[in-house]
C-alpha cells in the first residue's frame, strides 16, 4: 500500500477552465486527476441531446480535455476519475477509445460505471411502491411524471473503487457524487471497507473541499487581496494518507493561496447541518475536523468522525416546468434610476395593451448597479448608469416570446439615454424544474466495465 496518494481536482463544474486539468498534469506530481462535469440542470440538457442523437449526452469537454492531456496522463501513469459520462457513459467511453486510437495510444484501459440513470425505470419503480416523493415538500411524483426530463441516482465512492480495481486508468461515471471522485481513489488505494466510517467521512470531506476546483485555493476568497497570481491559480491537490488524515495543497510555483481560511471557506460551501453531511457512503461530521496549517500552502485535516449512511440514495429528477427569458438595456444618467423604473413600467404597460399580462411572481425588474445583489443592504440612490434587467416566466411560451419583443423598442420610444441592446430579442428557454427524492438502496445496482484501446 502506498503511504501517500496525490489527488488533483481539475474541473469544478461543466464550463470550468481547461487550464485546470492541463496544468495539473504538467506542473507537479499527481497520482489521480478528478473532474466534475455535472449539475442538476446538466443532466436534463444531456438527456435532450441524447434523444436527438444516441451518441450524445455526455460531457464533450472531457474528450477535448483528454485530447490535450492524454500524452502526459499515459506517460506519467496518472489515473483519471470523472463523472463525464452524463446520461451516456457508453458513448463517452467509445469517444475516449477513439481518441486514444487516433493518438496511437495502445492499451489504455477505460472503464465506465452504469446504473445511476433510472429515467426509463421510473414508472415501474413508482408502481412497485417507490413513490419518489419530493423530499423538500412531500408532493407525489405524479404531479410532474409526464414531464420528466432526467432521473439519476447519486452514486458513491465504492463504485469508483470497483472500476479502478477492474483495472481502469480512466474511470467514466454518470451521476457520481462530487466527493466520490476523491474518496473512490482513497478506498481503492488504502483498502478502506464500507464500515470504515471515519475514513470514509475524511474522504468525503476531502472531496467536498476539492469539488469546486480553485474555490479552496484562493478563488472566491473574502480576503482576495491576499491572493497572488490569480492568472496562474493552482488547482487543489489532496495529499491523502491511509489513516484518513489529508493535506490540502497545490503544486509548487502555481498562483493562488491555500491556508486555514481558504479551506474553511470551502468547507462551508453549500453546507446544511455541518454535524450531518449526508452522502451515499457515510455521514460526515464536519464539526469534528481539526484544521491546521502545516507549511506554506499546506493545510492538514485530521480527527474527522463519520457514521453509517442512510438506507436510501438521493435521486435527482428534472422536469419541464414552463418557459422564461430575460432581457437587458443600459440606461445612462442623469436620473438613471428614475428612467429605468419608467422603462420597466412602459414594457409592462405596452404588453398589457396587447393583452399580455404576467402575475407578480412571474416577473422580475432589476436595476443592476443600484443595489441588486445586496438588495436592502447596500444600495445606491443615484448611480451614473444602471443596467435594467427585465424577465418573465410562465407556462405559455408565446407569451414569453411576446415579452421579448418589447425590450429593444424602448431605445427609440422611451426616455433618453437607453442603449446596450446588442443581444437582440430575448427568446423563451425551458425552465428545468428540480425534483429531489429518495430511493431505497436495494433498487439500484451499479455495474462497471473496462475496455482497452
Amino acid at each position: 500500500m502506498r503511504d501517500k496518494v496525490l489527488i488533483g481536482y481539475g474541473q469544478g463544474f461543466w464550463g470550468d477552465s481547461i487550464l485546470g486539468p492541463v496544468r495539473l498534469v504538467r506542473e507537479g506530481p499527481l497520482d489521480y486527476l478528478a473532474l466534475d462535469y455535472l449539475a442538476e440542470v446538466t443532466m436534463s440538457i444531456m438527456q435532450k441531446l441524447k434523444s436527438r442523437n444516441p451518441k450524445a449526452g455526455y460531457a464533450t469537454d472531457f474528450v477535448a480535455m483528454l485530447d490535450r492531456t492524454l500524452p502526459d496522463i499515459t506517460q506519467k501513469g496518472i489515473k483519471v476519475v470523472a463523472n463525464a459520462g452524463g446520461v451516456n457513459p457508453e458513448a463517452c467511453l467509445q469517444a475516449v477509445l477513439d481518441l486514444a486510437r487516433k493518438k496511437g495510444i495502445k492499451g489504455l484501459k477505460v472503464g465506465i460505471i452504469e446504473g445511476d440513470d433510472i429515467l426509463a425505470r421510473v414508472p415501474e419503480l413508482v408502481r412497485s411502491g417507490h413513490p419518489l416523493l419530493n423530499m423538500d415538500d412531500g408532493r407525489p411524483l405524479s404531479t410532474v411524471q409526464d414531464k420528466l426530463l432526467s432521473a439519476n441516482v447519486y452514486v458513491g465512492a465504492f463504485a469508483v473503487a470497483e472500476c479502478l480495481r477492474a483495472g481502469a486508468q480512466i474511470v467514466i461515471g454518470g451521476r457520481l457524487t462530487d466527493p466520490a471522485l476523491v474518496a473512490g481513489p482513497m478506498i481503492h488505494e488504502f483498502g478502506w471497507q464500507p464500515n470504515d466510517f471515519d475514513k470514509l467521512a475524511a474522504g468525503t470531506m476531502a472531496g467536498h473541499i476539492a469539488e469546486c476546483g480553485a474555490q479552496c485555493t484562493g478563488g472566491n476568497y473574502t480576503n482576495w487581496r491576499e491572493v497572488k497570481d490569480f492568472v496562474r491559480i493552482g488547482y487543489p491537490v489532496i495529499e491523502a494518507s491511509p489513516d484518513g488524515t489529508f493535506v490540502v495543497t497545490k503544486h509548487d510555483g502555481t498562483g493562488g493561496l491555500v491556508n486555514r481560511n481558504t479551506v474553511v471557506s470551502q468547507l462551508l460551501y453549500e453546507m446544511g447541518d455541518p454535524k450531518r453531511y449526508l452522502g451515499p457512503d457515510c455521514t460526515a461530521d464536519f464539526t469534528s475536523a481539526k484544521v491546521e496549517e502545516v507549511g506554506k500552502d499546506r493545510v492538514r485535516l485530521s480527527g474527522i468522525k463519520g457514521g453509517p449512511a442512510t438506507p436510501t440514495y438521493k435521486v435527482s429528477l428534472s422536469y419541464q416546468n414552463g418557459f422564461k427569458t430575460t432581457g437587458q438595456l443600459t440606461i445612462s444618467g442623469p436620473d438613471a434610476v428614475a428612467k429605468a423604473k419608467l422603462c420597466a413600467d412602459i414594457v409592462w404597460g405596452r404588453l398589457a395593451l396587447d393583452g399580455c399580462t404576467f402575475a407578480e411572481h412571474e416577473k422580475i425588474v432589476e436595476l443592476v448597479g443600484a443595489g441588486v445583489c445586496h438588495a436592502g443592504i447596500t444600495e445606491s440612490a443615484n448611480p451614473p448608469e444602471v443596467v435594467l434587467r427585465l424577465g418573465v416566466k410562465c407556462h405559455d411560451e408565446d407569451k414569453v416570446d411576446r415579452f421579448g419583443m418589447e425590450i429593444v423598442p424602448l431605445v427609440t420610444s422611451g426616455p433618453p439615454g437607453v442603449t446596450g441592446f446588442a443581444g437582440g430579442r430575448p427568446k423563451a428557454t425551458d425552465i428545468v424544474g428540480y425534483w429531489p427524492a429518495l430511493l431505497d438502496k436495494t433498487q439500484v445496482k451499479t455495474k462497471v466495465r473496462v475496455e482497452v484501446s
Binding site: E40, V41, D136, N220, Y221, T222, N223, R260, N261, V264, S265, Q266, L267, L268, Y269, E270, M271, G272, D273, P274, K275, F286, T287, S288, A289, K290, V291, N321, K324, T326, K363, I364, E366, V368, V372, C373, H374, A375, G376, I377, T378, R389, G391, V392, K393, D430, I431, V432, G433, Y434, P436
Partner: protein, 104 residues
Amino acid sequence: MAKVKLKEFAFARSGDKGDGSNVGIFVTNAGDYEVLKRELTVERVKQHFRAICKGEVTRYEAPNLFALNFLLRDSLGGGGSESLKTDAQGKTHGLALLELEVER
C-alpha cells in the same frame, strides 16, 4: 466594545441549497467567535436579509471552525433554473452578511 462591520474581521462563503441559500461565516479566534454567536442571532440575520430572504432562517454552529452556517430559505426567486434573479445561486449573500455592523 466598538461598532464594526463583520467584513473587518470575518470571512464568508455562500451558495445555493434548493430554493434557498446557505451563508457560512467564520472568524480566526475564540474571542471573535463569541462575538459572532452573540451578535448573529437568527432574528438579526433575517432582518438583515429582509429584502432577499422570504422564508425562515436556520443557524448551525461549527465551533471547531469558529464558524456559523445560516440557511436562508426562499431567497433565490425559485432557485436553480426557475429563478430570474441575477444572483440565482446566492453566490453574493456571504459578502452581504459581512456588511452587517456588530459590537466587538
